[in-house]
């Protein structure tokens, strides 16, 4: 039992300076703030929907139902409420990015983004790209995400100038990254298993991918997709590759040696899907940052060469 607990703690709670978490925070929050927020949760679309819907949802998300139940009638969703939430997302996004009151800011940023997405998906549609991304944003509020590379860290150092920031470590800066890795792997596994459950090996017959690609390529105007849909043998190969990657993505966690290969394959898969089917999953690509151990890389870089290489005896 003790050895199991030790293994659990070693996996989830290893010592870390928090640098890796800080780099992930900055990468993900910057992308959400400057790229995804203006696009995927477009303010214009949200306001247009509110105008026409008149408070009438189609399939309200749990979060949307909860907000409507808590707030007085007529407050949400309205133009004013959407504008307030959007502004809150922008302001808290900036403070999370620079690491000012980081945890509180991260909570507000994640909450505002979740409400925006949940609202958008309360009118009869649900898409996948934002889901794991929003989970990661929320995790930032429950861990020392402002410990490094932040205004909070600068203030702390000013208060205690003798504290050496690089050497002090914490056990709580890795678990959010590990958890995001696992949720990502589960998402891929679900996608792979679902195809196999619904269609069996028939999903890899080439015709299936041809049909999916052709439908999307025509709808979204993707000439490369129209071409790919007519390449039967290539579609067989790509179908097998896609299922293999989805089912075995978790190996990136348990076998770090092949992690780069799996991540590169994932990037190629998503870029390929975007170019041929117009379905963008850039949030998932960006989340691959949680797999990169920046601290290990920096430690290797900083270690003198005679400590890392075996020198042959003279």
């Amino acid at each position: 039992m003790n050895s199991l607990v030790r293994k659990w703690n070693a996996f989830w709670f290893p010592e870390s300076t928090g640098l890796r978490l800080a780099i992930c925070r900055i990468t993900v929050v910057a992308a959400q703030l400057f790229f995804f927020l203006p696009r995927s949760t477009s303010l214009h679309q949200q306001l247009a929907i509110v105008d026409r819907a008149g408070g009438e949802f189609i399939n309200p998300q749990v979060l949307t139902r909860l907000i409507c139940a808590v707030l007085p009638p007529g407050v949400f969703p309205t133009h004013e409420a959407i504008l307030v939430i959007y502004t809150l997302a922008i302001v808290s996004g900036i403070t999370t990015l620079i690491g000012l009151a980081t945890r509180f800011s991260a909570f507000l940023f994640a909450a505002a983004n979740c409400v925006m997405v949940a609202h958008l998906y309360s009118y009869g549609e649900k898409h996948h790209p934002e889901a794991v991304f929003c989970i990661f944003l929320m995790l930032l509020a429950f861990c020392p995400s402002g410990r490094r590379l932040s205004v909070d860290a600068i203030w702390r150092r000013r208060k205690k100038p003798d504290a050496s920031r690089d050497q002090s470590t914490t056990q709580f800066a890795v678990w959010p990254l590990r958890l995001t890795q696992i949720i990502l792997a589960m998402a891929y596994l679900c996608a792979g298993l679902c195809k196999l459950r619904v269609s069996g090996l028939r999903w890899m017959n080439g015709y299936t991918l041809q049909h999916h690609v052709f439908g999307d390529a025509i709808r979204w105007g993707k000439p490369l997709g129209v071409w790919l849909a007519q390449q039967h043998e290539l579609c067989i190969v790509l179908s097998i590759a896609a299922i293999t990657l989805e089912v075995f993505f978790f190996l990136a966690i348990v076998t770090p040696r092949i992690m780069p290969l799996i991540l590169v394959s994932g990037v190629l898969l998503h870029v390929g899907i975007d170019l041929t089917q117009g379905a963008t999953f850039f949030q998932l690509i960006l989340l691959y940052v949680v797999f990169i151990d920046f601290e290990k890389r920096r430690a290797l870089r900083d270690t003198p060469i005679n400590e890392t290489t075996n020198t042959a005896p003279a």
Partner: protein, 142 residues
């Protein structure tokens, strides 16, 4: 139990809860966003001709005005418009038409009475992509 150990326990419970929520989607499908099942594109097809369509939807008002159905007019993005309304309407569901009409005409003086769906249908025949135009008029049944 010291503070660090207590914190580790709390975090561990949180981790297990999050993983359990995600794992539940394998069985129940998507119930609580952002914990989602990823079952898109799971259907399979056999060696049938490739066929796909690109739609344009034109709104027709009682006074005869015509204009493209944008999100500003319908208050709906592509997927809900297609899946919740246009597809059922094409299959003869008049209630879907009534609901869409109510949504779009809430504060219009000149109400939309029909939608004209112009579909560019693309079919691959003998390695060649052929295009035909199909037009369907869908009344909104006020």
């Amino acid at each position: 139990m010291n503070t660090i150990a207590r914190l580790r326990t709390v975090c561990s419970l949180f981790i297990v809860a999050v993983i359990a929520m995600q794992a539940s989607t394998f069985v129940t499908g998507t119930k609580v966003w952002p914990f989602m099942a990823y079952c898109m594109y799971a259907d399979s097809y056999g060696p049938t001709p490739l066929k796909a369509a690109k739609h344009r939807v034109i709104a027709v008002t009682r006074d005869g005005e015509e204009f493209p159905l944008t999100i500003d007019v319908s208050g709906l993005r592509f997927f809900p418009l297609q899946h919740q309304f246009l597809r059922p309407m094409r299959n003869g569901d008049s209630e879907a038409g009534r609901r869409l009409g109510r949504r779009m005409n809430r504060d219009r003086d000149d109400p939309i009475i029909a939608l004209r769906m112009e579909s560019d249908v693309f079919t691959v025949v003998d390695g060649e992509v052929r295009e035909t135009l199909e037009t369907t008029t869908l009344p909104l049944d006020e």
